[in-house]
């Protein structure tokens, strides 16, 4: 089998590539160049730096496989960055990793890997795939602290057949040990950042650099519409935020609403955040067909624990109802549905 290893220069993808090569597969290594500065310069932090691609090149040389840097800056700009900016200015809380996986890595790049003659695309994600009589299944990674199945929920049967996640079968500690045993120079690299194109800066600084709209002031109000203060742009706020609100009220307040057209930010108490139902669109089901309505574990953020909810597929998405109201359901984030360790599907939160 010939595989292509996609790397962000991180240690996990290097180990994934090494595992496939050690299992006797033929492979090629590739780094996707996703982002560059306005004058074409490489970023100084994040995953697309020159030193990152140098590390990946060195690992490929060590594994004695060909290595390429592929230019995906246009696809990444239109599929991920522009959408990220647009979503923030619309008061949404986007997840660019999900969009990158959906529109770049596991779509166009997966097709290009096939054009390279590769049977599978190998990445360093912590997730597992299984095949049985009913088809392909997507499972959480073995290491509960590193599980990345959330950002892979959009993978369907066609994609799962063509991807492999070897490091998802082991713990992060085992991956590090493996990297050290191979003497991979990336063994001690820190994990790559969530928002790679923002680099070491703050994503709000990045948004401010993109458009004046980011700094349009607006009112901060409470749930009764009473004026509490003013802010310098809705991008400073996300749903559920408690710190840095710029108003002192003597008791904890949370952002419970962002209304972009009037640039209004609404604050409330913790209980005002609680939502018992929401819907999703851009929905994908791993099996292809939607499951029957039923209770599944629902994960509404990358770093939140799944909680039980009634998931009812609709013609263009799904509706979700919790037994207990949940806090900080942010439109724009992905909601992913699990049956124990197995990903059933997911979509983008549109309304609460």
């Amino acid at each position: 089998m010939r595989g292509v290893g996609a790397r962000r220069g991180g240690g996990d993808s290097s180990v994934a590539a090494a595992m496939m090569v050690e299992q006797g597969h033929e492979g090629i290594g590739a780094t996707l160049k996703l982002w560059q500065g306005p004058n074409g310069e490489a970023p100084t932090a994040g995953c697309c730096t020159v030193s990152d691609s140098e590390d990946a090149r060195r690992v490929a040389a060590q594994l004695d496989i060909p290595y390429y840097v592929l230019d995906y800056t246009d696809d990444f700009m239109s599929g991920v960055v522009d959408r990220f900016i647009g979503d923030y200015f619309s008061g949404l809380t986007p997840n660019p990793c999900v969009e990158c996986n959906r529109t770049v890595k596991f779509s166009r790049f997966l097709d290009q890997a096939a054009e390279f003659g590769c049977d599978v695309l190998v990445t360093g994600h912590y997730a597992r795939t299984r095949q049985d009589d009913s088809g392909w299944h997507l499972l959480k990674g073995v290491d509960p602290t590193k599980d990345q199945s959330y950002v892979l929920h959009m993978l369907g049967q066609e994609e799962l057949e063509r991807v492999r996640f070897p490091v998802g079968e082991q713990s992060k500690a085992e991956t590090r040990t493996y990297a050290e045993r191979l003497g991979l120079r990336t063994a001690n690299k820190p994990d790559s950042q969530d928002i790679c194109f923002v680099g070491d800066g703050n994503y709000r600084d990045f948004l401010r650099s993109q458009a004046d709209e980011a700094t349009r002031p607006g009112p901060i109000v409470d749930t009764d519409g009473e004026h509490l203060g003013t802010h310098e742009g809705v991008i400073d706020f996300t749903i559920g935020q408690r710190k840095g609100l710029g108003v002192a009220l003597g008791e904890p307040r949370y952002v419970i609403g962002i209304e972009p057209s009037s640039a209004t930010v609404t604050l409330g108490r913790r209980e005002d955040l609680a939502t018992s139902a929401f819907s999703v669109d851009s929905t994908g089901w791993v099996a292809g067909d939607p499951p029957p309505p039923g209770t599944l574990e629902v994960k509404v953020r990358y770093k939140s624990d799944p909680v039980p909810g009634l998931v009812v597929p609709t013609s263009d998405g799904a509706s979700v109802t919790f037994d207990q109201p949940q806090g900080a359901i942010a439109p724009g984030q992905a909601a992913v549905f699990y049956d124990a360790d197995e990903v059933i599907g997911g979509g983008t939160i549109v309304a609460t």
Binding site: I28, T31, K33, G40, A42, V50, S53, R57, P66, Y68, V69, L70, D71, D74, Q112, E115, F116, G117
Partner: protein, 377 residues
């Protein structure tokens, strides 16, 4: 491996290394010294200079050895623009090598007026645009003899005549890095004041080049230091490099007729075979005005990046024409100047033949390419 990326660099000729090897051993002196060890080095250096000058129709002291083609271009454009403490105007073209374009951009930052003349769809410089930009402020005009990506040739004599008729004091430079291997170059026939060469493009070593500087032309040095090369290029003389470069120049000159014949038939058989399989193939340079060793092609519907990998898998080495530091294919500024949009530019590949190419390599390369295209169109 079938190597068709000779425009990027070409293998060193074995006789070149033979000529250089004494300078990695018994000849070790600093050519600037005054003892016997130094004299041996100095004699070798000056003999190399004389032989280089003779091949270009120049005088020995008109040859300045540099650390390569990029340095020669920097010294030419920057040296002429800043000569005499001026901030002289620079006129060049949109398709020059980055060594010229980035130097021009740097000079613009220092306050030198810069004009980039446009080119037509085949990459030929718009002479009216170029001539119209020349005035009494023009310090230097730089136009490449042939383009490194597409191989399109420019009418250097016609351009230098036009430049001199408008402003006789303007210095005329040509970057001949890509053309020397297949074209006889004489500085007087070309009418140029400055001419850049890089040894590794014609079978010499990397890291050495030269700039021809017509007697009487003043240049502000780029490298300051011990004042070697008559103050025009400081730094201990790279005698080994100069000896190797000149050996490669002589071998190239003696081999040109055979080169043009072998490479010419390899290329025409390559393109003919390819056109039969890919009838909508486009050749991105004038058929009667391009270097014999270049075949720059557009294959509609196929992304060059994908094809490069598939050709590499079949051990055929070619290039997309330009690449950034990480190795990803960039959109070529040359193709952009010719009016290519991003999508068309990303469908182009450069096949460049060289002194090791045999005529049968042409059809062999076409067969590999046709096979690599299967399933992509």
């Amino acid at each position: 491996m079938l190597y068709l990326d000779h425009a990027a660099t070409t293998p060193m000729r074995p006789e070149v290394w033979e000529a250089m090897s004494p300078h990695a051993g018994e000849v070790y002196g600093n050519a600037s010294g005054s003892h016997r060890a130094a004299r041996l080095a100095k004699n070798a250096l000056e003999e190399a200079r004389e032989r280089a000058a003779a091949l270009l129709g120049a005088q020995p002291l008109e040859i300045v050895f540099t650390g390569g083609g990029t340095e020669a271009d920097n010294l030419a454009v920057q040296g002429a623009a800043l000569a005499g403490g001026r901030r002289g105007a620079v006129v060049t073209t949109a398709i020059e090598h980055e060594a010229v374009l980035e130097t021009a951009a740097f000079l613009e930052g220092l306050g030198c007026p810069v004009h980039l003349a446009g080119v037509d769809q085949m990459g030929v410089v718009d002479l009216d645009d170029l001539a119209g930009a020349i005035d009494e402020e023009t310090a230097v005009v730089s136009v490449m003899s042939a383009n490194n990506e597409t191989g399109v040739c420019q009418p250097i004599r016609q351009i230098s005549d036009a430049v001199k008729s408008i402003n006789p004091a303007a210095v005329m430079h040509t970057d001949a890095v890509q053309s020397f291997i297949s074209q006889d170059l004489n500085v007087d026939s070309l009418g140029v004041d400055l001419l850049s060469l890089a040894a590794h493009k014609f079978g010499g070593p990397k890291g050495v080049g030269l700039l021809y500087v017509r007697s009487g032309v003043g240049l502000e040095p780029v490298l300051h230091g011990g004042g070697q090369e008559l103050g025009r290029r400081s730094g201990t003389h790279n005698v080994m490099g100069a000896v190797g470069m000149v050996k490669a120049m002589e071998l190239t000159t003696a081999d040109r007729e055979r080169f043009r014949s072998d490479v010419g038939s390899a290329r025409s058989e390559f393109e003919e075979a390819l056109l039969r399989a890919v009838p909508d193939l486009e050749i991105n340079a004038p058929l009667d005005g391009r270097l014999v060793q270049h075949s720059h092609l557009r294959i509609p519907e196929v992304r060059n990046e994908t094809l490069l990998v598939r050709l590499d898998q079949r051990d055929l080495a070619v290039s997309a024409g330009s690449s950034c530091q990480s190795g990803a294919a960039d959109i070529s500024h040359v193709l952009a100047a010719m009016g290519f949009d991003d999508e068309r530019a990303r469908q182009c590949l450069r096949f460049s033949f060289g002194w090791t190419t045999a005529p049968e390599d042409g059809p062999a390369a076409a067969a590999i390419l046709v096979e690599a295209l299967e399933g992509l169109r």
